[in-house]
């Protein structure tokens, strides 16, 4: 049976959507990746996935985008034990070096608090920034993408990350 994965992100985004497509493609045909629009999601549909990949770009000086932020009160009451969650997010390490991909960290910690198992941690090597809420014990709690400054590395990073996820899901 194919592993089912909910790939949840905002369909109204341009950059995150583009990279979500790349993530889906990297999983290949052996995985049942369902694209889900976070802007329309409800608790039941979120909880229907055991395996999730979440797209969460960082807004302003280290905030969740509204569509995730407005879903947080729902997450706060969820029981996520048994769920595996991987996060990817766009950030700008040159423009916002003090809050690079913070949103990955904010969402990851909230999910972990509710019992989810976080997977898909990555090395911060190759990025230059000052601080990140996504960094814990020397690793990012997900995949950091910086298409503003390191666009050329994006495809390779996604590919490697998805290969890692295939082992961790």
């Amino acid at each position: 049976m194919m592993t089912k994965i909910g790939l949840i992100y905002s369909f109204n985004t341009i950059k995150t959507s583009k990279n979500a497509e790349k993530v889906k493609k990297a999983f290949g045909k052996d995985y049942d990746v369902e694209m889900v629009n976070v802007e329309e999601i409800d608790e039941d549909s979120f909880l229907s996935y055991k395996n999730m990949v979440l797209g969460v770009p960082t807004w302003f000086d280290g905030e969740l985008p509204n569509y995730w932020d407005e879903f947080m009160p729902a997450i706060d009451d969820m029981k996520l034990k048994g769920k595996k969650v991987a996060l990817f997010g766009l950030g700008d390490q040159v423009g916002y070096p003090e809050n690079f991909v913070d949103a990955i960290g904010l969402l990851a910690i909230a999910l972990e608090d509710r019992g989810a198992k976080l997977i898909g941690f990555t090395s911060p090597e190759g990025y230059t920034y000052e601080r990140s809420a996504a960094l814990r014990d020397g690793q990012f709690l997900g995949l950091a993408l910086d298409i503003e400054n390191q666009a050329a590395l994006t495809d390779e990073r996604i590919k490697a990350w998805v290969e890692q996820l295939k082992k961790e899901f």
Partner: protein
């Protein structure tokens, strides 16, 4: 593990959510309506829209308790003010500058919302200026064991102002319950915040300050803002320590109605700031989490429309201010000084030095009124009391809470005086504005601000402060220990300026200054502190009313009008002239520059018909020009000669004694001018 927060979309009572939605909808309706008043030429010519700051502004107003706290909103704080309790009518009265504007009857700019009666303070348009006032009033809250906190609100760019650092440093040093809120929308008018400071979050610049706790929140989110402000208030009140709350906002509109943000923000940015509209987000949450139905929210929105209509009608029919009222509330009435109504006495006994007169009067007034305070640089350390020891022994007698050193920051000294005085009108504050008058310039912004308070609030707040400044030259002090700044200060309405030259007048004027409401600049001619020439017998209870000149020597042939150091020179010259020329020169020591005793001057001119005006300050643009012009305007018919002036050259004062002598007036220069006039 995340901590359970007090406020959340699911847990907050519906009634409270309803109040918040009403306030936010009302605020936004007024914010959007404000530009129409300008378009229709009704008013509100200054409007800084707050849209995008909704979460944090709601929260500031909600945590403010008018019985115990003090709120200092800035010019973008419309929702803050509504949330703190101002009505839609009160917002519109201020916006279109009506007489019943509770901030100050249309005297201050529009969009400067205040209600002093409720401790929502009326603040300057100078950005960040009120941070020092918040610190000053927090000092009083702590001293009088109040339960409240001071909340100062400002944009993130105004944190660049030097006095904001001084305020936060002072609150840290004194461990004061102040919450500094930085509403960060990323811009100071058109200037992006990266051009202000290196840290994107300017609050991080203050990380090293002891006792200070820094909070960050999403100012666009009601619940995050409410929780953060609640935590910050608890921290400040319980620990009696300062906090900073940096709230991340967006500015959905231009800086103000004179700014066009399309000139520097691209379409993508304008579109995402719209998308992050905090009110729309709050509304979505209310529906999504089933706290309200669409119909319920529409009902509130419809009700807001009616509230705005009603307030609008009240605004249009409200009275305008009376043009004849402009002279009201420039400065409050002074202490009447009824014991010595002319500021004269016949006391006999042991003469005292001028410095003794000051020291003893300060101590007497501090004994008389327990709500007196004095601070400044170098004001008290063991046997040292002030740079010239004027306040010697005061800290030992009155304690460190009433007599204390301030950091070397003149605007902090001045600004916190303005703040502390707001606590109640029994408080009387004396500050050494600077070690020397020459160093008062950094305090000028706070000084000017303080001169405005009484008028701007239409008499609701009077800063009751005596600013002592050691002034003038003749000590070989050079450019920075010789300046006379009274001419410059006299150009500001809202302050009295006195400049005694004898010990008794110094004591009497100081007593009257300390007992009076309003601000008085008390110039001390430092060259005379210990000079035997300035010694006089000082009655223990001596009082000198403001605006009463003293004729130091009577005469019939020439009037010399003077004050300060040169009074003694003029008396000497007059004594010499009677010996040399047999002419009698009248010497008037004005003692008070503002208010000026025109009556005594004109009466003398009518008798002598010739006038020489002498002061130590520069002739060019010095206060003597005002005296000369007044005489020319009001007593021209009595003049037999042009009004002459003697004072300093239009140069700085050189350090070398030869240069100093060439610059400052002296008896030779005064004698020559007096003789010329007598010969005219």
């Amino acid at each position: 593990m995340t901590v359970k927060k007090k406020y959340s979309i699911k847990g907050t009572p519906k009634k409270l959510l309803s109040e918040w939605f009403n306030l936010m909808t009302l605020g936004r309706a007024l914010d959007e309506k404000a530009p129409n008043y300008l378009k229709q030429a009704i008013g509100w010519s200054y409007h800084a829209p707050y849209a995008g700051h909704d979460g944090i502004q709601l929260a500031i107003g909600q945590i403010f308790d008018r019985k115990t706290d003090h709120l200092f909103p800035y010019y973008r704080d419309m929702l803050t003010s509504l949330s703190a309790g101002l009505t839609a009518e009160e917002v519109i009265f201020n916006g279109i500058s009506k007489d019943n504007d509770v901030a100050g009857g249309g005297r201050h700019m529009s969009n400067h919302f205040a209600k002093p009666e409720w401790n929502v303070h009326n603040v300057s348009s100078c950005t960040g200026n009120h941070t020092l006032h918040a610190v000053g009033i927090a000092r009083a809250v702590k001293h009088y064991k109040g339960k409240g906190v001071a909340i100062s609100s400002q944009g993130e760019s105004s944190v660049s102002e030097g006095y904001v650092y001084e305020a936060i440093n002072g609150a840290s040093k004194e461990q004061l319950p102040v919450i500094f809120v930085f509403q960060d929308n990323g811009y100071g008018i058109s200037v992006p915040k990266k051009d202000q400071t290196a840290n994107r979050k300017v609050a991080d610049n203050f990380k090293g300050l002891k006792y200070l706790k820094i909070f960050h929140c999403n100012g666009k989110d009601v619940f995050d803002s409410m929780n953060t402000m609640t935590e910050a208030k608890a921290y400040a009140a319980e620990n009696q320590m300062p906090a900073i709350v940096q709230a991340n906002c967006v500015r959905m509109g231009s800086h103000s109605n004179s700014d066009k943000h399309e000139l520097y923000r691209d379409n993508a940015e304008l579109s995402y700031v719209e998308k992050y509209d905090p009110l729309a987000k709050f509304r979505r949450l209310l529906i999504r989490y089933k706290r309200f139905t669409e119909a319920e929210l529409v009902k509130i929105e419809d009700d807001v429309k009616l509230q705005v209509k009603k307030a609008h009608r009240a605004g249009l029919t409200a009275p305008d201010p009376d043009p004849n009222s402009i002279h009201d509330f420039v400065i409050p009435d002074a202490y009447p000084a009824e014991k010595y109504p002319e500021g004269l006495h016949n006391e006999t006994g042991e003469p005292k030095k001028l410095i003794e007169g000051l020291n003893e009067t300060l101590k007497a007034e501090f004994r008389n009124n327990p709500d007196t305070f004095i601070w400044g640089q170098d004001i008290a350390n063991k046997d040292k009391g002030g740079i010239f020891n004027v306040s010697k022994g005061m800290q030992q007698e009155f304690g460190i809470e009433r007599v204390f050193n301030a950091p070397i920051a003149e605007d902090f000294i001045m600004g916190t005086a303005n703040g502390m005085s707001r606590f109640n009108d029994k408080i009387r504050i004396v500050v050494e504005g600077a070690e020397f008058a020459d160093y008062f310039w950094p305090a000028m912004e706070q000084f000017v601000e303080t001169t405005h308070e009484y008028w701007r609030t239409k008499g609701q707040y009077s800063p009751n402060i005596t600013v002592r400044l050691a002034s003038g030259g003749y000590i070989g002090g050079g450019l920075y220990h010789s300046q006379n700044i009274e001419g410059a200060l006299a150009t500001f309405p809202g302050v009295r300026i006195v400049y005694p030259s004898y010990a008794d007048d110094a004591a009497g004027l100081l007593r009257t200054s300390i007992r009076s409401k309003g601000m008085t600049v008390f110039m001390e001619p430092k060259a005379l502190y210990n000079d035997p020439k300035a010694q006089a017998v000082v009655p223990d209870d001596f009082e000198v009313p403001f605006g009463k000149a003293r004729v130091r020597r009577e005469g019939t042939d020439l009037t010399i009008v003077t004050y300060g150091n040169t009074t003694h020179m003029c008396v000497e010259v007059a004594d010499q002239i009677v010996k040399d020329l047999g002419k009698n020169v009248e010497v008037i020591d004005i003692r008070t520059l503002v208010p000026l005793d025109k009556e005594t001057i004109i009466k003398s001119v009518a008798k002598t018909n010739k006038v020489l005006v002498v002061h130590e300050d520069k002739v060019f643009a010095g206060f003597g020009g005002e005296i000369a012009a007044t005489i020319t305007e009001e007593a021209f018919k009595h003049l037999d000669a042009p009004v002459r002036r003697v004072g300093s050259t239009f140069t700085p004062v050189g350090f070398n004694r030869i240069l100093e002598k060439a610059t400052l007036p002296n008896t030779d220069k005064i004698y020559a001018a007096a003789k010329d006039l007598l010969d005219y």
